[in-house]
Symmetry: C2
Amino acid sequence: MTSSLEAGIHSIAELSRGASDLLLHSTRQKPLAKGQVLLPEGQVCKTIWYVEKGYLRTFYNKDGKEINTRFSFENEFVTDLKSLRSGAPSAFWIQAGEAAVVWEFAKETLLDLYRQSAEIESFGRNLLEQMLVVQEDHANLFRIHSPTERYAYVARHFPQLLQRVSLSQLSSYLGMARETVSRIRKNR
Amino acid sequence: MTSSLEAGIHSIAELSRGASDLLLHSTRQKPLAKGQVLLPEGQVCKTIWYVEKGYLRTFYNKDGKEINTRFSFENEFVTDLKSLRSGAPSAFWIQAGEAAVVWEFAKETLLDLYRQSAEIESFGRNLLEQMLVVQEDHANLFRIHSPTERYAYVARHFPQLLQRVSLSQLSSYLGMARETVSRIRKNR
DNA sequence: ATCAACCTGTGACATAAATCACAAAATGAA
DNA sequence: TTCATTTTGTGATTTATGTCACAGGTTGAT
C-alpha cells in the first residue's frame, strides 16, 4: 500500500490514515496507450489525474498547430483547472505522451469528500496552491526570458523534459520555432 | 455594511452571515499614498490584500530594471502566493500605483479562521482557484501572442490598464520595449 | 530488410522588435 | 509662470528569431 499515489498525496498534505484512505478509495488506476486522449478540446473537464508512470501532454490548437502548454511527469497532478472549476468546455487536450499509468479523481467525488472531511478539503487547497505556484513559475518563464534563455532555464531546472520530449514538441512549449531549438541545441 | 469588500468576498464564495462577519472582522482598512510599499523584495509575504480604491503594482527587479508582472485594480485580491505559502522571501515588490485604499488579511488570522469555519476554508480555496485562473490567462497571453498581439489583447480585455498605467510601466508588463508600445499606439 | 512517414539539421533570406540617440511634450515643484 | 525632471515619440541601425526549402536521419509497420 506504499504506492506512488500515496506518496504523491502526502507530498501535498499530511493526512491522517482515515483521510488518506478515503482519498485512496475514491480513485482508480487507468493504463493509457501512447497518444490516448484523456480530455479532448470542447469537453468539460471533470477529473484530476495523478501520473504514476509515463507523461501527459497538455496542448491546444492554434491555427491548426498544436501548442504544448505543459508536460506532466511521474508524481504530478494535472487537470484543466479553468474548465474543472467553471464547467466551461476545455480549450485544451490532455493526452498520453508515452504509454502511461494514471489515477483518476472525479470532481464530484472530491467535492463529496471535501464535505465529509476538513482534512481533505485542506488537501484540495494545498493541491491548488501547488498548481498555482507551478503555473506562476511557468508564466514568469515567458515573461522574464528570451527564447534562448528559456531553453537554458528548462535545461537547468527540468532536464528530463529535454530528454523525454521530442524537439518539435518542445519548441511549441518554449514558444519558438523548431529550427531555433535545433540551433540552440547545436551551440552547447 | 454593503461595503466594496463584502461584495468582493461574495464574488468569490457565497458565505453565511456568520462566516462573512468572521472574515470582515479579521481585516482592517489601510489607506496608501502613491508609491507606498506593501511588500518589499526579500521580505516574507504574510498578507493578502483586497483593493478597494486605486491600484497596486507588483514588480521585480531584473538587472536594475523594474519589470511589472501585475496591476491589481479595484475589487481584486492580490498577494505573493509563492512567498505566502512557502515562507520564502518574496522576489517581488508590491506597491501602490496610485493613492489607494486596501483591506489587509493576515495569513495567520486566515489560517485560524479556516480551522474555525469550513465555509471560510472553502472561501480560501475559491480565492486561490480564481487567482490560478487569472494567472493561467496571463501566462497564455505571453505564450500565445506576439508583442503587438499582446497590446491588442489588453486593449480589448483590460482597457482601463492602458488608461491608468503609464506607457513605460505598461511596456515591461507587456514584455516589450517602451518604444515598441509607443509605435503600436501610433498605428491605431 | 525495405520503404514510407516523420523528425531533425542547416543554409538563405525576411522581418519584427530591440537598441541607440535625441527631440518634443507633459508634469510638477518653487 | 518658469524651469527642471520625467515621460513619450520617432528616426536610423542592429539583431534575434521566424519562415522557407530541402537534405539527411530515424523509426516503425509490413
